[in-house]
Symmetry: C2
Subunit: 336 residues, 2 copies
Amino acid sequence: MFDFKELGTHDWGLTTSLMKSLYLDKELMLREVPVPRRAPGEALIKVLLAGICGTDREILKGYSAFRGIPGHEFVGRVVECDNSEWKGKRVVGEINLACGHCTWCAKGLGRHCPTRTVMGIVNRPGAFAEYVTLPEVNLRSVPDEVSDQAAVFTEPVAAACEILEQMTIAPGTRVAVIGDGRLGLLVVQVLKQAGADVTLIGRHGWKLDLAKSWGVRVISEGARELAPNSIPITVDATGSPRGLGEALRLVEPRGTVVMKSTFHGTANLDATKLVVDEVTLLGSRCGLFAPALDSLRRGRVTVESLITRTFSLNQGLEAFAYLNQNSVLKVLLDMR
Amino acid sequence: MFDFKELGTHDWGLTTSLMKSLYLDKELMLREVPVPRRAPGEALIKVLLAGICGTDREILKGYSAFRGIPGHEFVGRVVECDNSEWKGKRVVGEINLACGHCTWCAKGLGRHCPTRTVMGIVNRPGAFAEYVTLPEVNLRSVPDEVSDQAAVFTEPVAAACEILEQMTIAPGTRVAVIGDGRLGLLVVQVLKQAGADVTLIGRHGWKLDLAKSWGVRVISEGARELAPNSIPITVDATGSPRGLGEALRLVEPRGTVVMKSTFHGTANLDATKLVVDEVTLLGSRCGLFAPALDSLRRGRVTVESLITRTFSLNQGLEAFAYLNQNSVLKVLLDMR
């Protein structure tokens, strides 16, 4: 049943124990694979909850040519490790596995290390399984005040916080976020906490209502309440060429368009607007976990209300099918 | 011969004198039009030399839907004005005519004023004529040390300098400039003066040789000497989707791609690279004349060797035809 070759070049080692996983090989399937054996310096982690994200859906469509176990949003408990301090700890894990030696790693930017692997995305098995391994340096301890259901959002909250690592947003600055999906609803909260004057543009009444309940100004897509060229900072969180085009349409001269979502393909942008209005387009990806965990601990970001439904790992294929419906926010897999 | 309606909404007023001009109306033609009458606060300027730039060629292809007299690179002499101090002065002119009252103008960014006109580009007659008018606030006096042939480069040198207004480039930073045309050859000089470690990538041996004579490292396009994802700052000065793609290919994670050239259409960019590598794309357009004139006065930028040929205004159509040949740098029109 288990074909070692298909797992790529990673040295899993083999144990006698098997575990359940969601496995992508041309298509996604439920598969039993050996429980991974941790390398020195790594921890073996029992996955408690994992979240499905837009990138996972892009991966299923061919993004990053990934084969193996996807999944990079998780909370788990350490069952084996070198450093005994981690044993039994509830943890989340930074998803980029960096070399630790290159100039990027030296700058603290291991998430741009050119030889990195990325859990569940690039050459490294992910968290849609009963167990996963990660280097101990990637682990972050989850504070007791943060529930499993909140901790599983650490990675996407960190991605939202990344915008603030990349640019300064003065208090009161007008920001328009395009896209009322999972990521957009985190971005509006993080930017609002940072003091920005945030408007969310989306197409789903109930998602917009959720944002409104947090005090965020919302606009239905197509309402065109905002004038073109009028907003200093716009964020595309739709992960679609359409959303990016709207973000560019709204941004003012010398303003910044943040590309917060991955999509697999070509961004078609109005070259004249970019140059004549001297717009800055800023790609934005993974963020640091520490500020994200801190936001979750202080309750500055509401995440549990974003959970639409939780499936067991056995129901994993059903979970992906469910996610392809329109009116869904976060879908979790529960391995507890 | 002169059809007032075709000149658009600008209130030229009419004088009895006529002047020669290059006039765009569906196609470019040589046309006699009335010498423009200056409005209060404006100066009437006898054009001495004018330069043809890539934007002019885009305008002929339909960019900005311009009709009238194109031309925005010029040096001239003031013949009429309100403030007598300008009378007889040799001048260049900032090309954006701003309202002076809006928030952009208040920030000193009149070149982004939303109601601006732009000489020879947006709703304002340009300099491919014997005379042109401009507000006195747009004029800059040309120092005696700067020849007509150098002064006519003030606008493109300012555009090259604009990069340094928009971003900080630490001394020794590696920069790759794509495109060995007029603008690219100015950009490499300005960035080299600023202390950057500049490489020019181009496809014309003799243009690359010129840059080499200034001590710039050069690479023939296609030689692929530079590794992908290896350069902190890349500049597209080709004004083509191809050049922009190459600039994005070369830029390193967290690096900046400067879009220094206008092109009329859609920029097709690798969305994954932009987001995953957190690239900044920076549109860059017009710059301030003061630092450009200063660079020319100090001889920090070599411009006269970029002049391939000078035509009379009567030969204006021939000049554009000549420019469409491959091996041309700057082509001037001489109205002296």
